[in-house]
């Protein structure tokens, strides 16, 4: 086995292990960190393919931007909710996982179908072989030039789509005036009773309660009395969720 193959094996193991732990971690913060490990492993694979520009861009976009936003979102959530139970014995955890559709059989089926589709696609596609070490346009100038000439239209369409997503996100999070008045009059958000029925929570980890808890915290800053009510309601929702 050559040196390159050994490094590839190590990087592949890092990527696969990281990806596996992203979906199996009990705590969402651990998932985020393993996601970062996976991205770093992917960047290493790009370097192995002699494409350092892609490696750096990969780190910059995925670690520097996307994972940062993920961390930002985690930090804005209720830390008590995010830490999860953590103290369950492994056997009990395994039993709960296998019984629940979210952690047990659905992911297995989905992953199996995905693997089958990807393998079938690979077999049918007859991908062209690029000799290792051949620079595949790994030049920032070339990439920039292509992006503003040959791929200018897809590039602009992608940015327009992102802009639309941004505007949509702002529109969704913005509360309109009527709702605002409702809140100050003491009508607690209708989302709270729904979350009380915590049966959607597969292993009793209280995920569904996270949302009303967050909204409770927000309304807590909005108006004094209703904020307290929402916080209490969210607190009970959290209890049931556990």
């Amino acid at each position: 086995m050559s040196g390159g193959a050994v490094i590839f094996a190590i990087l592949a193991a890092v990527v696969l292990l990281g990806a596996w732990r992203v979906v199996t971690s009990e705590q969402i913060a651990h998932s985020a960190l393993f996601l970062g490990l996976t991205f770093v492993g992917m960047a290493g694979l790009f370097i192995l393919l002699q494409a350092p520009t892609f490696a750096l861009l990969h780190v910059l976009v995925y670690v520097g931007a996307i994972l940062t936003v993920v961390v930002f979102a985690i930090m804005l959530s209720d830390p008590e909710e995010l830490r999860g139970p953590g103290e369950l014995p492994p056997a009990e955890r395994l039993r709960r996982r296998l019984r629940s559709p979210y952690y047990g059989w659905i992911p297995v089926v989905v992953a199996g179908v995905l693997v089958a589709v990807v393998l079938a696609g690979l077999a049918a596609a007859q991908l062209p072989r690029v000799p290792l070490g051949d620079p595949v346009a790994d030049d920032l100038r070339a990439i920039g030039g292509e992006m503003f000439t040959r791929y200018a239209v897809p590039f602009e369409v992608a940015s327009a789509a992102l802009l639309a997503a941004l505007i949509g996100a702002i529109g969704l999070t913005r509360r309109d005036a009527a709702e605002e008045r409702g809140r100050t009059r003491g009508r607690v958000a209708p989302a709270t009773p729904d979350a009380g029925g915590g049966e959607a929570s597969p292993a009793g980890r209280g995920r569904p309660a996270a949302e009303p808890a967050a909204s409770g915290a927000v309304s807590g800053t909005q108006g004094g009395t209703s904020g307290a009510g929402a916080a209490v309601a969210a607190g009970t929702a959290r209890e049931v969720g556990r």
Binding site: L56, L67, T68, F72
Partner: protein, 320 residues
């Protein structure tokens, strides 16, 4: 000796020199910060250990740091907590790779993706901070890490915008080419707006007062690294001062001609300009009070980003 082996040995030698310099520079900067803060506050600073101006104090500090007990909080998230100092420390050292210390001198200053490397590697620091804040399982640490995450986006974008103006003028991402391009005039003159944006964003990136909301010792008890002691705490400090040096060196290279200068050898010019920025950062730290986080976000999004974009437009017009 075969060609490849020579290259490897040469690279190892350069890396060793860089690491030795980083260590010495760290101790010197800690001592310097104590002296500068003392001078600004009408004190004397370290004076007793070592005769002229307490220079042995830095050795004493280092011995103390190494011999202290390493305490892990009982509720800590063990692996995350233990790995956090390493994740903060590694990028600080890695950034030394791209610094142009002199003409064709440095670890790898002609790396043609230098500034891309800078922004990619420095994005790891946030993860170290997040891991420290999360792993400590302490509300102050968590608030500190949360502030760091919220802050990051407000100054990363202006920082990149400010650097882009210089890249447009020099036509290269390699720091060496950028310094070479400033033989006739410094880029601070055409890029004055960019320089102002860079300076503010860089101080925010370094988490130094007035932008040190993430550690805010008076309200958060040092924020994300409250729970660290001994050498782990030392690694956070190490990363902080190494980043201070690196950012100063990058500021000097991007806007003030790097190692270009008359009479003195280039390495001396590089060090003079870099330490001038280090002193400026210390001066700012001990002069200004800490601002609030919403003020930083306002500053970042409503002032630095528009000014950075304006600077790019002006630079583009200038080039056309």
């Amino acid at each position: 000796m075969p060609e490849g082996l020579v290259a490897v040995l040469w690279a190892i030698l350069k890396a060793t020199i860089a690491l030795a310099f980083i260590g010495l520079n760290f101790m010197f900067l800690v001592w310097l910060e104590r002296k500068v803060s003392a001078r600004i506050q009408y004190r004397v600073g370290p004076y007793r250990v070592g005769k002229p101006h307490g220079w042995l104090q830095l050795i004493a500090d280092a011995i103390k740091m190494f011999s202290k007990e390493d305490v892990m909080p009982a509720a800590a998230d063990r692996w995350v907590w233990a790995a956090a100092p390493v994740v903060v420390f590694a990028p600080a050292v890695l950034l030394f790779v791209i610094l142009p210390v002199g003409p064709d001198f440095g670890v790898q200053p002609d790396f043609n993706l230098g500034l891309l490397f800078l922004s990619a590697v420095s994005s790891f620091t946030l993860f170290g901070i997040f891991m420290a804040g999360w792993g400590s399982n302490n509300k102050y640490s968590l608030i500190g890490a949360m502030r760091a995450a919220a802050q990051l986006m407000a100054y990363e974008i202006p920082l990149v915008l400010a650097v882009l103006g210089v890249v447009m003028l020099a036509g290269s991402l390699s720091l060496q080419d950028i310094v070479e391009a400033q033989r006739t005039y410094w880029f601070v003159f055409p890029q004055f707006l960019g320089f102002i944006v860079f300076l503010i964003a860089a101080i925010a990136e370094l988490n130094r007062t007035p932008f040190d909301m993430a550690e805010a010792e008076s309200e958060l008890v040092a924020g994300y690294f409250t729970e660290y002691s001994g050498i782990r705490w030392g690694m956070f400090m190490f990363a902080e001062y190494t980043n201070l040096f690196t950012m100063s060196a990058i500021a000097a290279s991007l806007f003030f001609g790097g190692w270009n200068g008359p009479l003195l050898p280039p390495v001396v010019w590089f060090l003079i300009k870099t330490y001038a920025f280090v002193l400026l950062a210390m001066w700012i730290r001990w002069t200004l009070p800490r601002i609030r986080i919403d003020q930083l976000l306002d500053l970042g999004w409503k002032f630095l980003v528009p000014v950075g974009l304006l600077n790019l437009v002006i630079t583009g017009l200038f080039l056309v």
